[in-house]
């Protein structure tokens, strides 16, 4: 099993979510985060005063998937999140040791 952490642009969330649910993903965790990559923040000027904008709002999506589905999911996220402009985000893949469903105690891929 692998955990996918994807940081994407906020307005792409609906598209990514739809794509993933169509592929049969059973669950995901979504958080509102702030960050920067090469896109970097910038300085705003408003009525003569300067304001530095350091961190840009992004959405982080976390899903855990079985190994056989990994490539498909990564491609799907990329396709639906991409705009071609800088700041599109990144996808990270992390190995997962175990997964347990709290209510029933099931483990492994069945518990996903």
């Amino acid at each position: 099993m692998k955990k996918i952490e994807a940081v994407i642009k906020p307005f792409r969330l609906d598209d990514v979510k739809e794509k993933l649910t169509n592929l049969g993903i059973k669950g995901m965790t979504v958080s509102e985060v702030k960050g920067f990559g090469r896109q970097k923040g910038h300085t705003e000027v408003y009525r003569g005063a300067e304001y530095v904008v350091d961190f840009l709002p992004k959405i982080k999506i976390e899903v855990v998937v079985p190994d056989w589905q990994l490539a498909e999911i990564i491609a799907a996220i990329r396709e639906s999140a991409i705009t071609g402009k800088i700041g599109d985000g990144k996808i990270f893949v992390i190995p997962v040791e175990e997964c347990i469903r709290i209510r029933t105690g099931e483990t492994g891929e069945e518990a996903l």
Partner: protein, 838 residues
């Protein structure tokens, strides 16, 4: 409620009967039901509260009996709370813990020594002599206040607790407890007789008591776990059992919850008034005078409360009702429960004439804009006076919005939006721009409309789809009634109709893309309105619930605000009705296509086109371009040429974007000896490019067909093989001497502008017209790794004015001053060489 009572008495009976013989006959002990069982109402999942009472020393049989009974009940699945205590122990316990006291206030004998029990009960109640009573009442009020504070928090509002929540069963119990302590009688009849409740209130309480019990019983019956909270799945189930049906604007759950809130709201208010009355009647020194002041209108300010002294005057002069609230706001007074009653009773005399009365309207605005407005508006709402003044408000009273974001009902939410606006202006909400200086930047007239918009922005809810537009229509009527002028009316309706535009754009659109920002700008049209919409958006979000707003969302919204503000500041935006004209243009194009399936594809394609393109092109041309783009599936490039007047031709090239494309096209045209007069290039989101170039000096106008075929072939070959372009440039047709224009030459100029657009860097090139100059420039840009997104080429007279909207290869603005220098250098160098050989 009958169910609860029946169950309770049946339970007690069963318990009593389970004792056969001996212990029951003993003296000096009693098995007492307390808590809900003692009150005579329990539910299927309630706790069973028992008290094993004895006189002084614990009887020898009691421990075993307790053990047996309690374990037996536990094993049978009941939740049992029990205490084993002597009379004096009880006295100590209740004096130290208020909740234990309330638990024991209502008790019934199950079995044991009846005389002993009666004796105990009497002495227990005697504990409440006058001073103890007062202390009890104070404790009761404080206890209730802390309960309301806890359960008034947002999570408890959407899924309320039937027992402990605001206006829940506990409030009704509170009244009973007070009744027991003061009157030794918990019944509502006794309250009525003592004038602590009015007949209407008694009726309300009885109805609500019944309603809440029905809900609670259903909840315990259907739920697996024992709990008193109306969680969403339970709401659904119960709403259908209670016979609530879906209406035009709401589901059956919403209808049920609306009913629920109406009941709990009544209970809460009535309980508050009850406690107030009780407190008053118990005031120690009746003769003790509070500070009294007579206020204009027949009002009396006594201490903190504002009374209406001559209620009969209201019928003759209904505007007094508004004046009462106005005075209350100015004096920061609280509302006496009597005043509330008087207002309710006199609502009938407040009619259309009063709604249109300018003095009344002015006072209303004073209330709305005053610091304390939330409290006053709330009372206006609860006494139904607000609905009398603005009848449209009645439709949103208690209206539920069935999702996790909207914690408050619509009416409450609207009032809270007004509150949040006050907070924003007071500088509480946000220390950052643009909110920080917002309050100072809007005029007082604008401020009035802003607050009125806050109060009315969701008034269109519950009437089907798109409440923004509906709300704006309703607001127009309300504004007319209030006697607002046209400017005010327009502003009010604008704010309401578009109160969602900023939030929706910021959260759902790509802010790096020009179009959504431009769309906002053309809709909003000026900076003042933008600022007001922004304030309204923040207040609206804060008033929706704690989940709906956080600094993350705030930063997205702020980004959009700054971008739109800058666009409006520059005022180089297309005039007024850009959005409308673009829509019109789209309509015209669609009209050219009869087939509906084709229309759909066409509409989707046009959705993604820029305003600039839509407004500058003839509908026939747009359709032509659409056709050309579709053909790209088969061919790498599509080319068309049409004659214009004056020996000029309009050529159109449609192909996929790639670095250096424009340089390539200009090169191909130049190689054939054509002179480019003007060019408009449009790069689509999809990466398709549509370049429209106007050319002249067509060598043989009579046989142009040949030329264009050659050009098309050249394009295809050059796209496939870059060296081909070099080849044809080498062999290009030298311009004839006759063509050379002899002009005085101005100096070449290159201006690079980062301010003009949030999305592109602008490069402006001023030079003199000569063959191939455009190709030189675009080629130089290509070599500098600059991507041309949009170009406006013009040759007024002999001058060349080329404006390029560019980005670097990753789509970002250039921003770097060193790069600017390099660009300027390279371009000027290139322009100064007369004959440019690659």
């Amino acid at each position: 409620m009958l169910g609860a009572r029946t169950y309770s008495s049946a339970f007690r009976e069963a318990l009593a009967n389970s004792f056969d013989g001996s212990p029951a006959a003993e003296e000096g002990w009693a098995l007492v039901a307390v808590g809900g069982l003692g009150r005579g109402e329990i539910s299927f999942a309630s706790d069973i509260d028992l008290l094993f009472l004895y006189r002084k020393r614990i009887p020898p049989f009691l421990p075993d009996l307790v053990h047996h009974l309690v374990y037996g009940l536990w094993d049978s699945g009941f939740e049992v709370g029990h205490a084993t205590a002597s009379v004096s122990m009880i006295r100590n316990m209740v004096q130290s813990d208020f909740s234990i006291l309330t638990n024991y206030l209502e008790s019934r004998l199950i079995t044991g020594d009846a005389e002993f029990f009666d004796e105990w009960k009497r002495s227990f109640l005697k504990l409440f002599g006058n001073p103890n009573r007062r202390r009890f009442l104070q404790n009761l009020i404080a206890y209730r206040a802390s309960r309301l504070r806890q359960y008034g928090e947002s999570p408890y509002l959407l899924e309320p607790n039937v027992k402990d929540g605001v206006g829940g069963l506990r409030d009704l119990h509170t009244i009973r407890w007070a009744g027991i302590v003061y009157l030794h009688d918990p019944s509502l009849d006794a309250m009525l007789t003592n004038q602590w409740l009015t007949p209407v209130e008694k009726l309300w309480l009885e109805q609500s008591y019944d309603f809440l019990w029905r809900v609670r019983l259903q909840l315990h019956q259907s739920g697996e776990r024992r709990q008193d909270r109306l969680i969403f799945p339970d709401q659904e189930q119960i709403s259908s059992h209670m016979g609530c049906m879906a209406g035009t604007g709401s589901s059956s759950v919403e209808a049920f919850m609306r009913l629920y809130y109406r009941n709990t709201s009544r209970v809460r208010r009535t309980t508050s008034f009850f406690l107030e009355r009780l407190e008053e009647s118990q005031r120690r020194f009746r003769g003790f005078r509070l500070r009294r002041r007579i206020m204009p209108g027949p009002f009396l300010l006594e201490g903190k409360h504002l009374h209406i002294m001559e209620p009969e005057w209201i019928k003759k002069n209904p505007p007094l009702l508004m004046q009462f609230f106005w005075q209350a706001m100015r004096s920061k007074a609280h509302f006496h429960h009597n005043a509330g009653r008087i207002i309710r009773e006199n609502l009938g005399s407040f009619g259309d004439r009063e709604r249109r009365n300018p003095d009344v309207v002015n006072q209303f605005f004073d209330i709305l804009l005053g610091q304390d407005s939330f409290r006053v508006l709330k009372t206006m709402l609860e006494t139904a006076f607000l609905q009398a003044f603005i009848p449209e408000f009645a439709a949103v009273r208690y209206r539920v919005q069935n999702d996790v974001y909207h914690v408050y009902t619509v009416d409450e939410h609207l009032l809270r939006t007004v509150f949040e606006l006050h907070q924003i202006e007071a500088g509480v909400a946000d220390g950052e721009e643009p909110l920080k200086s917002a309050g100072k930047l809007i005029s007082s007239d604008e401020r009035r409309m802003l607050y009125l918009a806050a109060l009315l922005h969701d008034i269109g809810k519950g009437q089907g789809t798109d409440h923004s537009i509906r709300g704006a229509v309703m607001a127009r009527e309300i504004a007319a009634r209030m006697g607002l002028n046209d400017i005010q009316k327009d502003l009010l309706c604008f704010l309401i109709e578009h109160h969602l535009i900023l939030a929706e754009t910021a959260l759902k659109r790509d802010l790096m893309d020009e179009k959504p920002v431009v769309r906002c700008a053309v809709t909003i049209k000026d900076r003042q309105r933008l600022l007001m919409l922004y304030m309204l958006t923040v207040a609206d979000s804060l008033a929706t619930g704690t989940e709906a707003w956080n600094s993350w969302k705030a930063s997205l919204l702020r980004e959009l605000f700054f971008k739109v503000d800058r666009l409006l500041l520059r005022a180089d935006l297309e005039p007024e009705d850009t959005e409308a004209r673009a829509a019109q243009a789209q309509e015209k194009v669609l009209a050219l296509v009869p087939d509906p399936a084709a229309k759909e594809g066409l509409t989707a394609w046009m959705e993604r086109l820029s305003f600039r393109y839509l407004l500058s092109q003839d509908p026939n041309d747009i359709l032509k371009h659409y056709g050309m783009e579709k053909e790209l599936a088969q061919c790498p490039v599509r080319f068309k040429a049409e004659p214009n007047e004056g020996g000029m031709w309009q050529t159109t090239v449609v192909t996929r974007d790639r670095p250096g494309l424009f340089a390539l096209i200009t090169g191909v045209l130049w190689a054939r000896g054509l002179s480019i007069l003007s060019a408009d290039i449009y790069t689509r989101e999809t990466g398709v490019v549509c370049d429209i170039l106007r050319v002249e000096r067509v060598p043989d106008p009579l046989h142009s067909e040949e030329l264009w075929n050659k050009v098309e072939t050249d394009l295809i070959r050059a796209l496939a093989d870059s060296s081909y372009l070099d080849e044809i440039l080498q062999n290009r047709r030298r311009p004839s001497v006759l063509d050379l224009k002899c002009q005085p030459r101005k100096e070449d100029r290159v201006v690079i502008d980062e301010e003009a657009s949030d999305f592109y860097t602008l490069i402006e090139v001023y030079t003199w017209d000569r063959p191939g100059v455009l190709h030189k420039i675009t080629n130089a840009l290509f070599k500098l790794e600059i991507n041309i997104q949009l170009a406006k080429i013009a040759t007024p007279g002999a001058q060349v004015v080329d404006i390029f909207y560019v980005t670097d290869l990753s789509g970002e603005k250039i921003m770097n001053l060193d790069v600017h220098e390099r660009i300027r250098e390279k371009l000027l160098e290139c322009l100064s060489v007369d004959s440019c050989v690659e």
